[in-house]
Amino acid sequence: MTDTTHTTQAPDDADILLSVRGLSKQFLTGSGPVKAVEDISFDVRRGQIVGIVGESGSGKTTAGRCLLRLVEPSSGKAIFDGVDLFSLPEKALRAYRRRLQIIFQDPYSSLNPRMRVRDIIGEAIDTHGLAKGAARQARIEELLTRVGLSPEHASRYPNEFSGGQRQRVGIARALAVEPELIIADEPVSALDVSVQAQVLNLIQELQRELGLTMIFISHDLTVVEYLCDEIVVLYLGRIMEQGPARSVYAKPRHPYTRALLATAPVPDPNVRRERVILQGDIPSPLDPPSGCVFRTRCPHAIAACAETVPTRETVGPGHSVACIRQAELAETYQD
């Protein structure tokens, strides 16, 4: 059933660690069904960092949770190393839990306040029986050192740490099971700028040294541009544009991407960009606009936008856009 909605077939590429196809998630709420994520497809290559960008209600967090089956997806596939994660029974999924991990946004609520750091990291090790006794202790210390903390921190409770240090503990917990793919959900958004840089450096070091693949969920376009290789732009649960980060940032082809880039504050008072200030609010996901969901705020919307859901059109190598006017608008963008 879902196969017909795909514009692309799952590619037969050994480089691809995770291939998401037609991921959809509907929540049933008191006021009716909400399509939080609607027909999302993208690939994650080994060793790459894929950025998922969007504002509130874009479904970026739900998409990440679905990939980990923390939220059960409504439909779609997530082929991880040849196996569809979404069709795995709970038992078989447990083995895969070790290979995919998550880092959270809020360094406060992501650590159990009643567990010592040693037990937080130890639980990960124990769950998969990775080490026991002295080896377990050594592994915990190694992980703490690896994320820039010291072994003495093992006996402390989370409340004895600063936000940045807590985030490091969360990273150590994720690393404890030696995952291949890490989903980082706004991991630096709650941190101060100077601490944010420390954590971003740590994430990169780990990514390089451990050969990690990463999905980096964020609303911060500056960080994503710096960090990510590929980028997926979400709006109201749909993909507006996706492609190599450099190409998307250099030549954004969707009006929404352009607006996002134009409104992201840049720490330079001399930058006077074309100001594309979107009017109005993000519509309620309970009652999304017909056709293209972005049309109610799009400066280029025409009558046809209300009628057809735009399909993704390829505009460059790996770069695709869901906008029926992308070809004609592309000309006005040349500058």
Binding site: L68, R94, I102, S109, S110, R114, E123, F161, G170
Partner: protein, 287 residues
């Protein structure tokens, strides 16, 4: 490193922590004293609680009878400390039963959406009845005895705990650290105990101290109404019930067991409040 300025790594001794909280220390001291009095009653009581002495009936408190005597001439002081044994036993046993049932139901309802509908309905239905009416009905159905009073009170108060546990579980199960545990593949029962239950210790303890107090009061109420334990067995409730007829001429018969209940309930509340602060590591550093 930066954390060097954070509080010391050593966890202070539990005794130090308790002593630093005056109300907790006072509450604990009173509870311990009352419990000791009750347990050591055979050694402390100047008279047997059941020794009749028609000559000395309804004597006011004096140096011979600290709390006076009742309508059969029994020593009220001796009876009060003996009665503590059963009153505390009923309170503790009913609380333990309520906790076991309530925590289990609450966790199951909070964690498994499918079970929630049924469990929540039952909880709501039970809480719709006044405690004492429900207890009376249960005791009547099971036949009055010490065990049925305990069971009845345990069942009556279990929904209170279940509700607290369910509500907190619903919140905690959505927290990122629970998600992290799920993402790690930690089995559900471990998540329920390690991540959820451990963070519920303080609300459970607070509720448990309340239930302890309520159960003691309810036992007194049941005895007072004559549906509790046999009137011959001294509990604070049966003593007050017996003293009721003599309130005008021998108020000490009700005042002293009544005071015992009040003191116990009050100190339980102090302990509950103190423990809540003590058990929360987030508050611990603010000593």
């Amino acid at each position: 490193m930066a954390a060097a300025s954070a509080p010391s790594v050593d966890t202070p001794r539990i005794s130090t922590l308790i002593l630093q909280r005056k109300t907790l220390a006072i509450g604990l001291a009173i509870i311990v004293a009352i419990t000791l009095l009750a347990v050591l009653a055979p050694l402390i009581a100047p008279y047997s609680p059941s020794k009749l002495s028609i000559v000395n009936r309804l004597k006011p408190p004096s140096s011979t009878w600290f709390f006076g005597t009742d309508e059969f001439g029994r020593d009220v002081f001796s009876r009060t400390i003996y009665a503590g044994q059963l009153s505390l036993l009923v309170g503790a046993a009913a609380t333990a039963l309520a906790a076991t049932v309530g925590i289990t139901l609450g966790l199951v309802a909070g964690f498994f959406r499918k079970a929630d509908g049924i469990v929540s309905r039952i909880i709501d239905a039970m809480m719709a009845f006044p405690d004492i009416l429900l207890a009376i009905a249960l005791v009547a159905a099971l036949g009055p005895s010490l065990a049925t009073v305990i069971i009845a009170l345990g069942v009556v108060y279990a929904p209170r705990l279940a509700r607290v546990v369910r509500a907190s579980t619903l919140v905690i199960r959505e927290l990122p650290y629970v998600e992290a545990a799920r993402a790690l593949g930690v089995p559900t029962w471990r998540i329920m105990t390690r991540h959820v239950l451990r963070n519920l210790v303080s609300p459970i303890l607070v509720q448990a101290t309340f239930i302890f107090a309520y159960a003691m009061l309810a036992e007194a109420g049941l005895s007072f109404l004559g549906v509790g334990v046999s009137p011959e067995i001294p509990t604070w409730g049966t003593m007050i019930a017996a003293g009721r007829q003599y309130v005008g001429q021998a108020d000490w018969m009700t005042i002293f067991p009544g005071f015992a209940i009040i003191l116990t309930v009050l100190s339980l509340q102090l302990v509950g409040d103190g423990l809540r602060d003590l058990l929360d590591p987030r508050l611990r550093k603010d000593l």
